[in-house]
Symmetry: C2
Subunit: 237 residues, 2 copies
C-alpha cells in the first residue's frame, strides 16, 4: 500500500462477508474512514472493521453522513470529505474509506471519488471489491441471478411503471433496488404482469434484521426497510 485512498467494500453487513484482502488493507492503513448515519447509532461498516483497527497506531474517523441534504448540500459535503482525504494523503497517509457492499455499485464512495478527481486529481485511488448485497440476497433467497445465456437487470424500483414493465418483460432476472417507498405500486405491477409469484422480497440481508419473503402479500408496512430489494426470477431453475 502506498499513500492514497483505497475504497474497501466490507460486504452487506455480516462481519464474515468481508474478503481477506479487505481485512489486509484495513490492517495496513494509517487512517480508516467509516461513514455513519447522522441519526445516531454506530456505523455498520465501522463496526465490521473495528476488530481489525489498532487504535494505538491507526486513526479511525467516523464520518457522519447527512441523510436529508439537497443537491447543493450534498456537493458541499462531499467536497469537504474529498479535501479531508486529500490533506491526509498529502501527509503521506494511506487512507481506507470503508463502504457496505461493493464500492462500485450504488456506494457513497463513488461521490467521494467524483469530488476527489475534481479537487485533487493527483491522489492515487484504488478499489478493493466487496460482496454486494444483491449476491447475498440471491443466496439467502435461493434464487439464481443468471445461468447459461440469461440476462440480468439491476434497476431502482423508483423508475416509472412503463420502463419497469419493459425491463421485467425483457430480462430473465430483475433486481429491484430501493423498493421500500414504492413497494405497493411495484407489487401491483408485478401482479399485473403475472410475476408476483416469482418475486422474492429480501430485507436487510447480512444484518440482524435480515428476512426473506417468498410471498409479497406477507410483507407488512414495518418490513419495508430502506435496505431491501425484490428479486424477480422469470426463468425456472
Amino acid at each position: 500500500m502506498k499513500p492514497g485512498l483505497t475504497a474497501v467494500g466490507v460486504g452487506p453487513g455480516d462481519p464474515e462477508m468481508i474478503t481477506l484482502r479487505g481485512v489486509r488493507f484495513i490492517r495496513e492503513a494509517d487512517v480508516i474512514i467509516a461513514p455513519k448515519a447522522e441519526t445516531g447509532g454506530d456505523s455498520i461498516a465501522g463496526r465490521i472493521v473495528a476488530e481489525y483497527v489498532d487504535l494505538e497506531c491507526q486513526e479511525l474517523i467516523e464520518q457522519v453522513y447527512p441523510m436529508r441534504l439537497d443537491q447543493q448540500g450534498l456537493a458541499a459535503y462531499w467536497s469537504q470529505a474529498a479535501r479531508q482525504v486529500a490533506a491526509l494523503v498529502a501527509q503521506g497517509k494511506r487512507v481506507v474509506f470503508v463502504t457496505l457492499g461493493d464500492p462500485m455499485l450504488y456506494s457513497t464512495f463513488l461521490y467521494l471519488q467524483q469530488h476527489l478527481r475534481e479537487l485533487a486529481p493527483e491522489v492515487f485511488v484504488e478499489v478493493v471489491s466487496g460482496l454486494s448485497s444483491i449476491h447475498a440476497a440471491a443466496a439467502l433467497a435461493g434464487v439464481p441471478l443468471a445461468l447459461a445465456d440469461d440476462r440480468l437487470a439491476v434497476v431502482p424500483a423508483t423508475f416509472e411503471d412503463d420502463r419497469l414493465r419493459q425491463t421485467l418483460q425483457d430480462f430473465d432476472t430483475v433486481v429491484l433496488m430501493k423498493v421500500a417507498r414504492v413497494f405497493t405500486r411495484v407489487r401491483a405491477l408485478l401482479a399485473e404482469l403475472g410475476l408476483k409469484g416469482q418475486a422474492v422480497y429480501v430485507r436487510q440481508v447480512g444484518l440482524p434484521g435480515q428476512q426473506v419473503f417468498h410471498d409479497l402479500d406477507l410483507v407488512g408496512e414495518e418490513d419495508r426497510h430502506y435496505l431491501s430489494m425484490i428479486i424477480v426470477r422469470k426463468t425456472k431453475s
Copy 2:
C-alpha cells in the same frame, strides 16, 4: 454446518478475494469438491482452497468438468455429480462445492443444484456468496457499475445485435459477458452506437493474465480470453 451441500464462491481467482465465511466453510467441511477443466492443468478454485484443506481429515475431490458435451451429455454429467453429492450427504458428510466467482451468477453450481433438486430433494443446500468477477473487473478498470438511479444490465455478448443494441440504449451500464468469440462483432456494434470510447475490455480479472484495455482497438486476437468481459459505461462519473 450440518450434513448437506454448501456452494462456496471463492471470488474471481485471486486467493485474497475469498470471504472469511468461505474460508471457514472450507475448513469445516468433510469433503471439498473442486471443478477442474478436462484439458489438464489444475483447478483454479481448487488451488485457492488448497491452503485451507487438511488432507489428514478432509477429502478433496477434483471433479473433471467436460468442456465439449452436448445437452444430453451435460445432463448425464450433472446427474452423476448430483448422485455423488447425495451419496456423501447420506453418509452424514458436510460437502462443499467450490466455484469461481459467485455461485448464483453464471456458475456451474446452478446445474448441480437443478439435478440435485430432482434426484435428491432431501439434500440440504446452502450458498456462501463469493465476489463476482464483474465487481472485480469494475474495480480494476475504475468504472462504476451504477450510482444514484442508474440502471445496470448484465448480458451475454452472444445475443443478437438487435437485442444488444436495445440494451445498450436503455441502460447506464452494460456488462457484456462471454465476449471472446464475438469480440469483433461487438466492437463494431459499439462503434456504430458511438459507445466504443466508453467501453473497457477486461480479461482474466483476478488471475495471473489479468489485463485492462481502455481502447478496444488494442485488444489482439491473443487477448480474447474465455474469461473476459466488456463494461460499457454511458453515464459520465
